[in-house]
Symmetry: C2
């Protein structure tokens, strides 16, 4: 992937030296192999192996200084968190006339306010550290997903991360009450308010969230906390159709008193892959079903009787619902969850895969899966759709495993056309071609191809209003005018 940068020019050295003078030696990674981890992109999909400097400011003022220096030197700035994004938003692009700015040293939890159910933390804090700090105050910070030990809250907010608990607690956006942001020109916007109600002007906060650092650099946030989880019930259910899963989800939401926290749909194909290639994964039910739901109910009450609620909801006769098992202890619950969490890795055991991150209205999930499966099979006979995802959010990871008769390389050449077909079908159901992983440098072409001209124009107006000289994460999210459509 990244092979280090062959040589450094005078302009690089001039910028590095200037930053060292202003922010101290320790704020700059000097050219050499030490830079490589900062230039590597997780999947190796993006160039990212060039930047004029890698800077690690220690506080918000130093981030502001970097932006001022970017203007002085006429370069862009690529902000970078935990490097767990999958769309190249935190990697330098081909242009390479950028400073890569790592937020990792802004890692202080500034305040935990249990009475206000809030926590204020800097951008470089690890998500798992925030979860722990909340737990220490008998509170829950509910954002949770596979990369939680590596990802940083600044990146979570910049990409509006989703994860396992969105159904109950919302995306990262929904968890942020206030932000501190360094603007393109180096000014600092102090919007660190911990208020549930504030209608004293335009909603600036939500503009920066999900903008992937293209409108400003999030340096700290005040986040919502919740009561801690004191009771949990987990079940796995076999289903005869995806439509039955949609109905069961709606009924469970109501009957459980909206205590449903996760509701993960798995097709038989990805479940089979998990059982075949995952570690410690066993057939969960005695009968095989075309579809499965993995359900978690949680409550902060000590006597919520969640097991009984699950039993009541599942034992009633309802069309399309087959066997089920309710976990009798946390070990069994972990066994069920291991099936779900093994799917992404298990796909690798069956050859190359093409990943899609789409969402549609919940009610349209069955029709979407049917239409998208037919379309990709038509385009690439033998391809194995592996649909799974967060049914309550309408977020389906419509992943494709290569035909058994095809080489990995030949299959991956189909990435663009197959992905485009899946996106087209998601859009036909008023869905999204970028549900929880963002746009980065992977999908600006799809923004250009699939978003209305009006929406693209509004996006460009915002970019121009906040970053007229294109200093902030250039080339990401907003497609340049006239850029030819490409796949994402």
């Amino acid at each position: 992937m990244v092979v280090g940068r062959p040589e450094w020019d005078n302009r690089d050295m001039e910028i590095i030296s200037a930053i060292q003078q202003r922010l101290g030696e320790e704020a700059v990674i000097t050219p050499g192999p030490g830079m490589d981890p900062y230039l590597t992109e997780r999947r190796g999909l993006f160039a990212g192996n060039r930047a004029r400097a890698v800077v690690r400011p220690a506080d918000t003022e130093a981030v502001a200084t970097v932006m001022q220096m970017a203007t002085e030197h006429g370069v862009g700035v690529v902000p970078r968190g935990g490097n767990t994004g999958l769309c190249g938003g935190a990697a330098a692009d081909d242009n390479a006339d950028v400073i890569l700015l790592s937020l990792e040293r802004l890692n202080r939890i500034r305040r935990v306010d249990a009475d206000n159910f809030t926590l204020t933390a800097e951008a470089g804090c690890l998500l798992s550290d925030l979860q722990a700090a909340a737990a220490g105050a008998e509170r829950l910070f509910p954002l949770s997903y596979a990369a939680e030990n590596d990802c940083q809250i600044g990146g979570n907010l910049a990409t509006n991360a989703g994860g396992m608990n969105v159904l109950r607690y919302g995306n990262a956006r929904d968890l942020a009450l206030g932000l501190e942001v360094v603007l393109a020109d180096g000014r600092i916007w102090d919007g660190l308010r911990g208020l549930r109600k504030d209608n004293s002007g335009y909603d600036l906060k939500d503009l920066f969230i999900g903008a992937e650092g293209t409108l400003g650099i999030i340096t700290a946030a005040t986040l919502k906390l919740f009561p801690p989880v004191r009771e949990r019930a987990t079940a796995i259910v076999g289903l005869n159709s995806a439509a039955a899963a949609v109905s069961l989800f709606g009924r469970l939401r109501a009957d459980s008193g909206d205590t449903i926290t996760s509701c993960e749909l798995m097709g038989r194909e990805p479940l089979s892959l998990a059982i075949a290639h995952g570690t410690g994964c066993a057939e969960p039910l005695t009968t095989s079903y075309p579809w499965y739901l993995l359900i978690d109910l949680t409550s902060s009450a000590r006597d919520a009787a969640l097991d009984r609620r699950l039993e009541d909801a599942l034992s009633g006769t309802a069309e399309g619902i087959g066997d089920y098992r309710i976990a009798t202890d946390s070990t069994m619950a972990a066994d069920f969850w291991r099936l779900r969490n093994s799917i992404p890795g298990a796909q690798k055991g069956a050859g190359a895969s093409i990943k899609n991150d789409v969402s549609v209205p919940v009610a349209d999930i069955p029709a979407f899966i049917e239409a998208a499966s037919a379309a990709v099979i038509e385009a690439c006979p033998g391809v194995r759709p592996c649909p799974f995802g967060h049914i309550g959010d309408g977020n389906i990871h419509f992943n494709l495993t290569r035909p058994t008769t095809m080489t990995d390389a030949a299959f991956l050449e189909q990435w663009a056309p197959l992905t485009r077909r899946v996106h087209d079908i998601a859009m036909a159901y008023s869905g999204s071609f970028a549900a929880e992983h963002g746009v980065g440098q992977l999908k600006p072409g799809e923004v250009a191809r699939l978003k209305s001209p009006v929406e693209q124009d509004l996006m460009r107006r915002l970019k121009t209003a906040f970053d007229p000289d294109d200093r902030l994460n250039p080339g990401k999210v907003v497609p340049p005018i006239g850029r030819p459509p490409s796949a994402g």
Copy 2:
């Protein structure tokens, strides 16, 4: 208040005639007394008695036509919903070179999608009609407040309305998944997506919500629905301090399994006013306390045992908590709620009052109330603070009733200086001077006085980017550069 407009000039008639030609006779209210209801502002605080025309378009395309015509004729457009706002956002300002655009004919519920837990409705739909449509599909649309039979969802979204259930379900902003918006130049942005996860570009939706029509005119929205309420428990609790209320709120949130939907704080003074001047209001407890909490737990589960949870939480010994009563039936629950709902009207019985709509972090409510009370009493001896509000949201209506020895008129002359003092103290606690009623034309001066220059600059950049010719609700929300500070 409004006395009708004495005369109409040629420019008025030219604009009216042009609109009639394009949109039909029925789309225009012709000059005369029929116009008065459209030019009246509820409290009579704002001029609002002049507009070049009153237009009632029937659909989104017609709204777009009005915006195009506004450009052609060089006038502004003031969008107007149910006219229940209190900050003059929907009233014409002194300038009067505007078309007043009523959304009332855009009143179709386009779709109720129970499986997706969403509803799509046009801006002119009454809030109570949306509640009813949701209930008809066994769903809950939780936005609720006193004006719900008169207010329109477009106005709710344009002002990011709050209300009684924010603690559980969020503000209007949190309930909107997608919007349809007519832009300043008459283009239509179709952002009517019903998705829980969509990170395919900048968050445009949240810019229009709470912008009070100054960035675009919301013509339709896709809104979140929830499972219906099937069980409810209501209690009133006497407390020795506001701090005890904050602690009890935190404990109740956790112990009730986060089923707490409303948590209303009332000081003894406003409660006494309600008992003295309200209809059907009786002392709720045998002992008098300085503070009271009115608590609602709700659940969509049929066996949530909410009464028992309330009893368990309240019967435990905790500092500062006095007597309590749990409603044994819905009549008693209604009696408790009548006390809370009678406060705003009851204040009138005790003479003129000055209203504040501030928020602070929940933990700071006791200190804020103490500091603000001391400040207003110092400035106006004998003034009676009547604090009440939504404790879980940190939203205190810090209303002031005139001293018994003062005339209404003399007291109301203190509006600006007293309000400024209260706002200053809210800001000192990192609070907001406009929590749930917005800015309108009442508080742009406070925006100029209290918001940072950086934040004002970002607001102006947004206004310029989306409405460069200042056609959309001119003079509202964003303070003009150099405008002298005034009270709000």
